[in-house]
Structures are given as structure tokens and as C-alpha cells.
């Protein structure tokens, strides 16, 4: 059982967090009855704030839970997260300023807005909105799993811990829903800065204290097995395609595009994107925790009390609890807890934008500005609780599985959104076909790779070695989108002599 000082520090900092969330409403005041004011903070965020906001998209429970858990269970393969974030910013540097400029000129708030305008196709725009909303849901669920893991470690040994945990999560979500409703993206940005400060203090403390106390990294690698030291030769194709597929997917997620569009200028967006790989250093340290924990006997003993499948997600909180001084682990644990909460808010907000602007408004074009913002705010609240209900009803490992599937789905909108920025050759019908076939083939390959059972792997064995399914299905999608557009153009030329 953990001591009360951890809990006191944790709760006290959570109160500060709530205060910042509500204060967001008054910060850089704007008329929050406009969608772009509420969900893009009035497009006024400078270099540093965009850095924190997009950093919050990256430093999610994905880094606290999924990556260290993967490194803990499977070793070096999951370190792909580091080159992945480096590559994703190269993609973003080239493409996102262009999307920002177009959005500013034409008033787009979502990627779907752009696609509808560019290809003059409601069907394609609605399909892209639905893909975004669906892919985002398991991502939010993953955030909740991360928060749950902190509570599990904190409450271990107390009576009724399961019930206390669920009630705490519910309270946290009601508070979150309340301040996103009133403050919009401003509240999320302010709390993102607070969260980042806590997380950075934590990772620096861990990387200094733990290696010293266990007598160097070498001992941790000795305690783990050999597939942790370097990447086994047969996994090289898997590593490279995981980097590529994930890097192409990240900036297609609605919440990432939402963050991009809140920048004040294309230049400020570019400079903050250029600095974002620095965030990866924290991610690298978190990933290494999956190995360091092997050399901390107390933490390993604690983990052995849980079933093998759920040990991974508890790695980071238990390493923190058993290697940092008592009150300080309260700071660190809260950092991880709100590290799930803030991204969940941003993601639900991005989903709500898509639902209102690109689905509801398409069906009912007469929607007034006032009803638009009302529906956006309400649906962002509903999405949060849908994700929460999802986590309460299915085992945590499923949430991680579905997140893998989410990446494969979202990458399918790449031809329309990213290539659409640069080329005029693409046509709507081949894009719609490509998107549908991409999604269908992605899901099919995912099922094949897992023998139609529970989804645990997103790698398909091919003659070239195991490959990340997102890359294969995107390849099929691109071939259809470009090939089909070329054929259509030739046919059009023939019919108009």
C-alpha cells in the first residue's frame, strides 16, 4: 500500500489542474460562441503554445502505456516510436503549413472541410469525417486505460479498489467535460503546459535516479533478455514499416490537424514543428523504463502480483512508485494521469468538430452558428463518456488492440488529404474506392495476422518479412487512387474530342 503523502500531493496538484482548466475561459479572451474560437482558440497560438499543444497530442497514454508496455513485453521492436516521431515531423513540416495556409484563406476547421472543397464531393468528405471519428475513439479509450493504470497502482492493497478506481475516473471525466465545455481549446492548452512540466520533471528524475540506483543501464539489459539489446534481424522490415506507417498516420488524426490549425501563422507552425523532435527525448526515456524496470526488484515483485497480460500497462507507474521518493511519486503519477486526460479532451473536441461540421451540417445545411457550437460542445462531452463506457466494459488489452486498428484506418485518408494538397490529378471516385478498399483490406489483413482472434499484432508475415499492415493497405489505396484517376482522365479525354 502506498503512503498518504503520495495521495495528498496527487490530489493537491489535481486541484491546480482543474483551476487552470476553468481559467482557460478568461485567457486570451474571445467570443466562445464561435466554433473557431472554441475549438481552435481563435487561431492565435504562437510557436511555444503550438509546441505544447501538439506535444500534448504526442505525449499521450500512447507514450506512457502502449510503448513502455511493448518494450517491457517484446523488447527493442517497440523503440520504433522514437524514429517514428522524428519522421512524422518531417512529414508535418512539408505538408501542414500548406494545409494551414489554405484553411486560413478558406475558413476550414477540419481536414474534411478541405476535402469537400477540393474534390467537390460530399460523399468523400463524410467518409473522411467518419473515418476520423471512428479511429479517434480507441485512441481516447487508450488515454483512459493510461489513467486507470495510475489508479490501479495507487490503490493496490486498499479495500474496494476497483470501485474507488471507477468512481475516481468518472469524477475526473465529469470535471474534464465541464471545463472543455466552458473553455474549449484554451483550457486544454493551459492544462497541456501544466501537464508537460510535470511529465518533464518526472522523466528527468527517472533517467537520473534509476540508472544510478541500479548501477548503470548495463545491469537492466543483463536482467532482460537478448532481444532487448538490439533488434533481431528478422524484425528489421517490421521496424522500418512501423516507423513509416505511424509517421504517415499521426498528422491525419483529427486532433493533430486541430492543433495545427490553431497556430497563428504558417511560420510559427513550422518553427514549433521543427522543435518537436525534442519531445521524443522524453518518449525515449519512457520507452527505456520498460527495460529499466527489470533491474528494480521491488517493482518486479509488485508487477508479478498482476496477470501477465496487464503487467505491461503498469510498468511506468510502478517503476515511479518504487524508485522515486514518496511525495515526488505523487507529482509523477499525477503527470501521467493528466497526461491521459488532456489529450482525451483535445481528441473528443476534434471528433465533435467533424461530427457537427461534416456530418450534421451536411444533412441539415440550415444549421445556425449558435446551434453549431451547441451541438459541437455537447457531442464532445458525449464522445468522452462513450470512450469511458467502452473502457469500463472491455478489458484494457482490447483498448490497445483497437488503437492498433485505428492507425490502420486513419492512414487511409492520406491520398485525399495530403496528396490532395499538391496534385490536381486525383479524382473523387477513385479516391472513394481507394479509401474503402484500403480500410477493408486493412481490417482483413489485421484479422488474418491474428488468426481471426483477439487483435494483438498489427504485423503481417509476407515474403519480405513481417510488415506493418497500415503500410500495405495504404499501398493498395494509393495504387487505386492514382491508377483509377489516370484511367478516368484518359476516358474523359476520349469522350470529349
Amino acid at each position: 500500500m502506498i503512503s498518504t503523502d503520495v495521495i495528498i500531493v496527487f490530489v493537491a496538484l489535481f486541484v491546480v489542474f482543474i483551476g487552470l482548466g476553468f481559467y482557460g475561459k478568461y485567457w486570451r479572451r474571445g467570443d466562445l460562441n464561435h466554433v473557431h474560437e472554441w475549438s481552435l482558440a481563435g487561431r492565435k497560438l504562437g510557436t511555444a503554445l503550438v509546441f505544447f499543444l501538439i506535444g500534448a497530442d504526442l505525449y499521450t497514454a500512447y507514450s506512457f502505456v502502449a510503448i513502455p508496455s511493448g518494450v517491457f513485453a517484446k523488447g527493442s521492436l517497440y523503440f520504433f516510436a522514437i524514429p517514428y516521431v522524428m519522421l512524422t515531423f518531417a512529414v508535418a513540416l512539408v505538408t501542414m503549413p500548406k494545409l494551414w495556409t489554405l484553411s486560413r484563406e478558406k475558413g476550414y476547421i477540419t481536414a474534411s472541410d478541405f476535402v469537400k472543397d477540393k474534390f467537390n464531393s460530399k460523399t468523400l468528405a463524410i467518409m473522411i469525417a467518419i473515418t476520423g471519428i471512428v479511429a479517434e475513439l480507441p485512441y481516447i479509450a487508450l488515454q483512459i486505460v493510461g489513467m486507470q493504470s495510475v489508479l490501479t497502482v495507487m490503490l493496490a492493497g486498499y479495500a474496494n479498489s476497483q470501485m474507488v478506481q471507477e468512481i475516481s475516473l468518472l469524477i475526473a471525466f465529469i470535471i474534464l467535460a465541464a471545463f472543455t465545455y466552458t473553455s474549449g481549446l484554451r483550457g486544454a492548452t493551459l492544462t497541456a503546459i501544466f501537464k508537460d512540466i510535470l511529465v518533464w520533471i518526472t522523466v528527468i528524475a527517472v533517467i537520473v535516479i534509476v540508472p544510478i540506483s541500479i548501477g548503470g543501464f548495463g545491469n537492466a539489459f543483463k536482467a532482460a533478455s537478448s532481444s532487448y539489446v538490439t533488434l533481431p534481424e528478422n524484425l528489421v522490415p517490421a521496424y522500418a514499416t512501423l516507423i513509416l506507417g505511424s509517421a504517415l498516420a499521426l498528422y491525419l488524426y483529427p486532433h493533430a490537424i486541430n492543433g495545427v490549425l490553431s497556430a497563428q501563422s504558417a511560420h510559427k507552425l513550422r518553427s514549433s514543428t521543427a522543435l518537436l523532435p525534442l519531445y521524443g527525448v522524453g518518449l525515449a526515456i519512457l520507452a527505456l523504463m520498460g527495460i529499466l524496470v527489470y533491474a528494480v526488484p521491488d517493482a518486479m515483485k509488485f508487477l508479478s502480483g498482476f496477470p501477465e497480460s496487464s503487467r505491461g500497462i503498469l510498468v511506468v507507474p510502478s517503476l515511479i512508485l518504487y524508485s522515486l521518493p514518496g511525495w515526488f511519486s505523487g507529482v509523477a503519477l499525477l503527470g501521467i494521469f493528466v497526461g491521459g486526460l488532456v489529450p482525451a479532451a483535445i481528441m473528443a473536441m476534434a471528433q465533435a468538430n467533424l461530427l457537427t461540421r461534416n456530418i450534421v451540417k451536411e444533412i441539415k445545411p440550415s444549421l445556425s452558428d449558435k446551434s453549431e457550437i451547441k451541438i459541437t460542445k455537447l457531442s464532445s462531452t458525449i464522445f468522452k463518456f462513450v470512450a469511458l463506457g467502452f473502457v469500463f466494459s472491455v478489458p484494457a488489452t482490447y483498448a490497445i488492440s483497437l488503437q492498433l486498428l485505428g492507425g490502420i484506418l486513419i492512414v487511409q485518408i492520406l491520398p485525399a488529404v495530403l496528396f490532395g494538397l499538391y496534385t490536381k490529378v486525383l479524382k473523387k471516385t477513385p479516391l472513394i474506392t481507394g479509401l474503402s478498399v484500403g480500410i477493408a483490406s486493412g481490417i482483413l489483413m489485421m484479422e488474418m495476422a491474428n488468426n481471426f482472434g483477439q487483435l494483438t499484432s498489427s504485423l503481417l508475415k509476407t515474403p519480405l518479412g513481417p510488415l506493418y499492415i497500415a503500410v500495405i493497405s495504404l499501398g493498395i489505396n494509393l495504387a487505386i487512387s492514382f491508377g483509377g484517376s489516370m484511367i478516368q482522365r484518359r476516358c474523359d479525354k476520349k469522350s470529349t474530342p
Partner: protein, 66 residues
Amino acid sequence: MSTRTKYIILALLILIPSFVNLGVPIYNRNDPELFGLPFFYWFQTIWLFVCTGFYFAYSKIMEKKS
């Protein structure tokens, strides 16, 4: 600097780091170790700083261009 050279430099600033990131065999080795950390891990971590340098140069040159 002519516009053409500028474009080549801009392209290289993006392509070089990307080539290294995707060229897994370049860094998939154990030696030399650093503080007991295999090359595989410390190289990728340090490469984050180098990447930031490349990207920052890219963003500065783009700024001058416009």
C-alpha cells in the same frame, strides 16, 4: 543563392534525417555502448537532437524565402 540550390538544400534537410530514420541496419548494433546503453538506443535518442537541427534549419530557410 539561386532558387534551385535553395530547393536542393531544403530537400536534403528533410531527406537526410528521413533516410537515416528508415535505414534501420545503420543503427541496429550493440557497440559502442554509452553508459551501458547499447548503440541502438543511444544513437536514436541523440539523433533526435540532430533531427531538430536539420528541421530548424529547414524552417529558417523557408522563412527567409517568403
